[in-house]
Amino acid sequence: MMIVEPVTKEKAKDEVRLDPPWRVIVLNDPVNLMNYVVMVFRKVLGFDEVKATKHMMEVHELGKSVVWSGNREQAEGYAYQLQHWRLQTRLEMDD
């Protein structure tokens, strides 16, 4: 019995490590205003003005920007809010 607990913990750690990060990607669209996108990034993702503007410009010039990466649950939360603000958003598993 004494041996079982450490083994279980070790296994749990491995499972956490195996959970791959997810990327929240915002795509360019022809409708939303630049300052609207900056405002949404600040509100939803907590970016400061400089970081929000940098990601907005990436979306505008490159067609998309990875705005967040991390565990699936949080990624889904951000994607949901960004979609509510009518930003075109995708979730992808980080390779």
Partner: protein, 147 residues
């Protein structure tokens, strides 16, 4: 309370406000963004995601309806409760998407982004383009008020 007057000739706002109200009514039922996992097969997850979003988008539409039905709106006045501002902003975004996709679909993204000359456009397109710009101007004013 957030109150401001659009920096647009009130003859234009009077002209496009019926068109804006009409477009808003035409959007009818709440549309929902595409699910963010392109290959998701869990139907329950997709359903609960989309029904949640639909409920929130319906609230946004309600807030926008209040603004559009305000008697001062055709005269270029935007008057809304401060706690409704974010809902109205999102509702405006949805309405602009609708006009872009259904009424201005003959215009390219580049033209729309860089600005159009009204001459050369049909009367219908001119009016919808002006409505699209008026909605953007409202968003600009709200963003200024909120930030």
């Amino acid at each position: 309370m957030i109150e401001f007057r659009l920096k647009i000739d009130s003859r234009i706002t009077r002209m496009v406000s019926p068109l804006i109200r009409n477009s808003f009514s035409t959007t009818g039922k709440v549309t929902c963004p595409e699910f963010p996992y392109p290959e998701e097969s869990d139907v329950e997850l997709v359903d609960s995601w989309q029904s949640g979003l639909r409920e929130e988008i319906a609230q946004d539409r309600l807030a926008l309806a209040r603004l559009l039905n305000d008697a001062r709106f055709p005269h270029g006045y935007v008057v809304i409760e401060e706690d409704q501002a974010e809902c109205v902003l999102r509702g405006l975004s949805e309405l602009r998407f609708f006009i872009r996709e259904h009424r201005l679909d003959s215009i390219s993204d580049d033209e729309l982004e860089n600005g159009l000359s009204l001459s050369g456009l049909s009367k219908d397109i001119q009016s919808f383009y002006l409505a699209y710009l008026v909605l953007a101007e409202i968003q600009e004013g709200l963003i200024r008020s909120l930030t």
